[in-house]
Symmetry: C2
DNA sequence: AAAACATGGTGCAACTAGCGCAACACTAGT
DNA sequence: ACTAGTGTTGCGCTAGTTGCACCATGTTTT
């Protein structure tokens, strides 16, 4: 039951668990936060412990408390710190490109990076139509994300299999048609410059993605468009070419580093 | 030497100090992170302490380390958590409005909130011209921020004086023409709906701001435009009216809560 | 109203985990 | 090799965290 030597300190771990709880699933009505007892029960920890930890986190601004309901939410400090991350810089530069993509096809567009065997969505631009759940900050297993193929496009087949092995046994098997078929798709990214996946999360019909490279040419991110409109289904190739081109432009913008960034529109 | 009763635990405090160091000033070349010894010295703590703390923070994803330079930066977890904050929701809804404002006058536009006696910038949209330093996540004393007047517009004079007292003695006196003059400006916000400040941070010539209200009509944020072009100086009133109108529209959008948000453009 | 049941916070002894010192690997400059 | 720097680890000692109990407020029953 005890974890391996590479383990963070007990206090930090507890705090992180609390923050993760407060992050919630995002799509629920947990917008007004959570109470101490509920968190303690969900964590299997003492109320007192959680109460004291939350007080400390509040002082530091990591969480904030509604004065009326006495419930806790994630705090402003997280926002302030996050603005200084490398991911934030990436989003800042990419946003105009991803927005342009979303506007061009009136579909949801995303910017994602690889984190372990998960795909983390950094930016999601909804289409003009329905209200869409917030995907920013959400991690999804590589096989299930539209951007997954683009992010792993240039990995060795062996390493890809290894990575897939870490999630396939525990993951669902309905939405993934075997890892062999999945691997074959990686070739398509290398040749065509974009990937098309037919089964996706949410209510989308298909996903189109393309890799984004840093100044050294390595794939560091991916942009994707999740196709939900029936009218777009016939244009998958056209969308793919557009996504790939946008990804290429974005890669150039990232390569420039600190130079002035032009709006693409 | 011992701090007051309201104090977070030692471990958490240390971790927060480290994160704050890693956040840096943003405008320097600290983009490639900081080393253990440098952080330890800057904090007046033991190297070993910092080393171990950073390892824990890295495991939790709060910081990440460049494998080559072995320097630490803020991590992806902060970004993921921040996306779930209330501030993030505010930015998501406000972004189109602030962008429209920035495009209309081709000047930098901001979204700010009040945090203690500081103004925290949540969103900064640069003009099309020069490269601009990143203001997101930066806190500035109320008197020095363009949005300060708008954020305090409907406070009791007594409470405002009290708040200003907490920073004036320690603050600079060059950029603020006395608190009396400052207070008089608050009236202007209440009547005209926007504030104009002549002296600002950075290389701007003036700042125009207007208050944003939540569904209960309380001021929860402010948007502002920092005027740097000489050509805009003669249009301060015109800009003010536009900023106030945009703030009003944004307030309505926030009031709708979860309803679908239309793009203002 | 009082009872019953919540939730959030506190005092205190036992104990564990973090602290600082020092010594250790490791890379890089002269 | 020497020096000088960085980052990591072992270990005794101390300080901070833990968990139990109890208490202080609200909120729902009966």
């Amino acid at each position: 039951m005890t974890d391996n030597p590479p383990m963070s300190s007990a206090g930090l771990r507890r705090d992180m668990e609390i923050l993760e709880i407060l992050a919630g699933h995002g799509d629920e009505r947990d917008a007004d936060g959570f109470g101490v007892s509920w968190i303690a029960q969900r964590l299997g920890r003492e109320k007192s412990q959680v109460s004291r930890a939350l007080r400390g986190l509040e002082i530091e601004g990591m969480v904030e408390r509604d004065p009326l309901t006495r419930r806790y939410r994630l705090g402003w400090r997280l926002f302030a710190l996050a603005a200084r991350t490398e991911q934030s810089r990436l989003v800042r530069i990419s946003a105009p490109y991803v927005r342009r993509l979303a506007a061009a096809f009136d579909e949801d567009a995303y910017l994602c990076v690889l984190r372990g065997n998960m795909v983390l969505t950094l930016l999601s631009v909804p289409s003009s139509r329905a209200y869409h759940r917030v995907w920013e900050g959400v991690s999804v297993p590589v096989i299930m994300a539209a951007a997954g193929r683009s992010l792993l496009a240039e990995w060795d087949e062996e390493r890809v299999r290894e990575l897939l092995g870490t999630i396939l046994p525990a993951g669902l098997d309905g939405s993934v048609g075997g890892s062999d078929e999945w691997l074959k798709e990686l070739d398509h990214v290398r040749t065509a410059g974009y990937a098309v996946s037919d089964v996706e999360l949410d209510d989308s019909e298909a996903g189109v993605s393309a890799p984004v490279r840093d100044h050294r040419g390595l794939i560091t991110a991916a942009i994707s468009v999740s196709v939900t409109r029936a009218a777009s289904l016939g244009r998958l190739h056209e969308i793919g070419v557009s996504v790939a081109e946008t990804a290429r432009e974005l890669s150039c913008a990232l390569g420039d580093g600190k130079s002035a960034w032009r709006r693409p529109d």
